[in-house]
Symmetry: C2
Subunit: 119 residues, 2 copies
Amino acid sequence: MEKINLQEKFGKFSDHWHPRLLGELNGQHVKIAKLQGEFVWHHHEEEDELFLVIEGTLEIAFKDKSIRLEEGEMLIVPKGVVHKPIAHKEVKVLLFEPAGTVNTGDQTEERTRDRIEKI
Amino acid sequence: MEKINLQEKFGKFSDHWHPRLLGELNGQHVKIAKLQGEFVWHHHEEEDELFLVIEGTLEIAFKDKSIRLEEGEMLIVPKGVVHKPIAHKEVKVLLFEPAGTVNTGDQTEERTRDRIEKI
């Protein structure tokens, strides 16, 4: 059992759209990622997904609106809801979602990560 | 689907050891609480519990050691592990644990909260 310092973990990688695993509890994964640019429209069939912005600004686009998250703001995207994360500048986020959740959901593309590495 | 600003939610209450619910996903609760003073030694029979410090310093005592969490640091306490949160000054924390988790675990005392209110 060891404490985890978020900024220390963010300092260990620089690539975008590549979530790293911080820990697991109750079958859920706690991950961090750096995001920059536009992601792919996707949804998760069975998993609700939480985004918490640690640094920067994250826009999450939906078919009918867009929600802008600043540092210290979070959003739960329910399963089945099509969304697209957009980061005009680099943003650092914390993610909570079930173990096994794939970042691109129902889509497969070059940024798809279906395995997660612990950091 | 609405975004949640942590500091705005913390501004809505001032009592200690009384977690409020921010949201639910995948059967898990995301809560915030203000802590000050010493809590009760307890464990959770079936639930792993995540503490993330948003502001202040939180000490979590275990039978054989103590872990000090500063702002931006988190700890996952596995089920069954006896622990006691201690806040020498007020600390603001985010908690992630299964829906139904009682704050005092196997113990019952005046700070026990077996129902959770959404804020």
